[in-house]
């Protein structure tokens, strides 16, 4: 492979990886707090992309305003899912919660198929994302540069919330001990709702950027990215935010490099990632940063 192609693939892997990281964080935060795998999280990502699509295509709002509104609206959707579907089973056996999460996932996907239809829609991306930029000898699509930059900014903002604000402190407290957090006079329901809002907002941002990168959206677009981001969360050490970021980057790179270096295997790119998931679940279920699993949110 020449230098030009290598730079292109690295940027590709970096941008795909940061998108997985953004989604993985939602899985890991919810797991850290409720020990629940929110299977509907990939579909929340899809909802984010569709919200932005509709704000632009139907309400004719400027692109960046649409993206912001879509992120806000998706956060509300995520909170509603928690309120309507997960809160009633919070004290039920864990298997009930998992089945509920699967149900919510199918529900959102099928609601999407019924309301907006299965046919993919063309997602209008803003001019600056569509450009082609030169990095050294390589021509790289601007979206592959913007995605990692925006993702890092979002992740820094998230770290700020979690480690520097009162609400973030409460989220970390809930993840160690819900009951004792209640004894602090904190309304745990609100803290959990906030966790879903943050995770869903990041997923929406990921969904919108995904749609900029692959500008065809459909109601099932969240399934594969969702599963891969879940893999990223497990590989990084589920419950661990830094782990989710690392895992996302790793999965994105592995996926792109598999295709780049072994074009013959490109049909197996998903299979390879899910094999990785199985291997980790069997060999090291606590993931790369599993040792520090107590530092979870």
């Amino acid at each position: 492979m020449n230098l030009e192609a290598l730079i292109q693939q690295l940027m590709n892997g970096l941008s795909l990886g940061s998108l997985y990281a953004l989604i993985a964080i939602g899985y890991t935060m919810v797991y850290g707090i409720l020990r629940l795998i929110n299977f509907a999280h990939g579909d929340i990502f899809m909802v984010g992309a569709y919200c932005a699509f509709f704000f632009v295509a139907i309400f004719r709002l400027p692109w960046f305003l649409s993206a912001l509104l879509a992120i806000g609206l998706t956060a509300l959707v995520g909170m509603s899912v928690e309120r309507i579907a997960y809160r009633p089973v919070r004290n039920a056996p864990r298997i009930s919660a998992l089945i509920t999460a699967l149900g919510v996932s199918f529900f959102i996907e099928n609601l999407g198929l019924v309301t907006v239809g299965a046919r993919p829609k063309a997602f209008a991306r803003p001019e600056i994302m569509a450009k082609v930029v030169k990095i050294g000898p390589a021509a790289v699509s601007a979206v592959s540069i913007w995605v990692p930059i925006l993702s890092v900014l979002l992740l820094l903002a998230l770290m700020y919330v979690i480690y520097r604000t009162k609400a973030g402190m409460a989220m970390r407290a809930v993840s160690t001990d819900i009951e004792t957090t209640r004894l602090m006079g904190a309304d745990v329901d609100r803290i959990i709702a906030l966790t879903f809002a943050l995770g869903s907002a990041l997923a929406a941002a990921g969904g919108i950027m995904w749609a900029c990168k692959y500008p065809q959206i459909n109601p099932l677009m969240g399934i594969y990215p969702g599963w891969k981001a879940f893999t990223a969360a497990v590989v990084g050490g589920i419950g661990n935010i830094t782990g989710a970021m690392l895992g996302g980057l790793l999965i994105g790179m592995v996926e792109i490099m598999t295709v780049a270096f072994f074009p013959g295997l490109s049909g197996y790119r998903d299979g390879i990632i899910f094999t990785l998931l199985l291997v980790f679940l069997l060999v090291k279920p606590t993931g790369i940063l599993g040792e520090s699993l107590k530092e979870k949110v």
């Binding site: 009162k166 970390r172 001990d177 004894l183 602090m184 904190a186 107590k294």
Partner: protein, 235 residues
């Protein structure tokens, strides 16, 4: 009356853990509830703070029934608890643990005052403010748990076996701190298996036996009582 419990019944599934207990904690007093393992002491405190729901009976805080309120509202109305086993947030720093205690308060200057008060009460915590709670020794964790409870500015401080697992010297230190908290005018409900220390500190005492109040009286009287000596003070 700071706290008045009447005819409280609590069940865990089929287990009848509290069988109609009644007790009172007058404002400004230290009341202790002593009893053997499994008597229902923790259950009593957990019911007061709303972590467990009573099937029957009332719990009044300054005349207002709190027995159906969610835990965070009970705490916001002035009840703080030091739970059994301390329950420090291991992954939060000592400072953050203390600030969690003040989570629902918005008056920053009052919180700051209480913070300084707690640091004055337990100077050992000061050097460890940025250490993770999980790295503290057992005694330090107990001090942190008490300090964290005080950070909510409670009118009633409930403690579930603060002496558990502590060396005698530390037990004395913790009890001295409780005495000084009491001198500040706070009301304390103390649960203990270390009956001697508890009775020495308290004004009034209740003896709980398998979910029933078996005896009550002035703490100094119970300390002299023949039956109490035999059952709880080792003869």
């Amino acid at each position: 009356m700071m706290l008045a419990i009447e005819n409280l019944h609590v069940y865990y599934g089929g287990i009848h853990a509290l069988k109609g207990i009644s007790m009172e904690v007058p404002e400004g007093s230290i009341v202790t509830l002593i009893g053997a393992n499994g008597a229902g002491k923790s259950t009593t405190l957990r019911t007061i703070t709303g972590l467990v729901r009573p099937r029957q009976g009332s719990i009044k805080l300054k005349g207002r029934d709190i027995s159906r309120l969610p835990t965070h509202q009970i705490v916001q109305s002035g009840v703080a608890m030091v739970p059994e086993g301390r329950k420090i947030f291991r992954n939060l720093t000592v400072r953050e643990n203390l600030m969690m205690g003040a989570y629902h308060r918005s008056d920053a200057s009052a919180v700051q005052r209480d913070f300084e008060y707690v640091i004055g009460l337990f100077p050992r915590l000061e050097e460890r403010l940025s250490q993770k709670g999980g790295t503290l020794s057992g005694g330090e964790q107990q001090m942190l748990a008490i300090g964290r409870a005080l950070m909510s500015g409670p009118s009633l401080l409930c403690l579930d076996e603060p002496s558990l697992g502590l060396a005698p010297l530390l037990v004395r230190e913790v009890f001295k701190a409780l005495e000084s908290v009491h001198d500040e005018g706070r009301t304390i409900l103390l649960i203990e298996q270390n009956a001697r220390a508890a009775l020495k500190l308290a004004d009034y005492a209740y003896v709980l036996e398998t979910g029933v109040i078996k005896m009550q009286g002035k703490a100094s009287d119970l300390l002299e009582n023949e039956d109490v000596r035999k059952a709880y003070l080792g003869g």
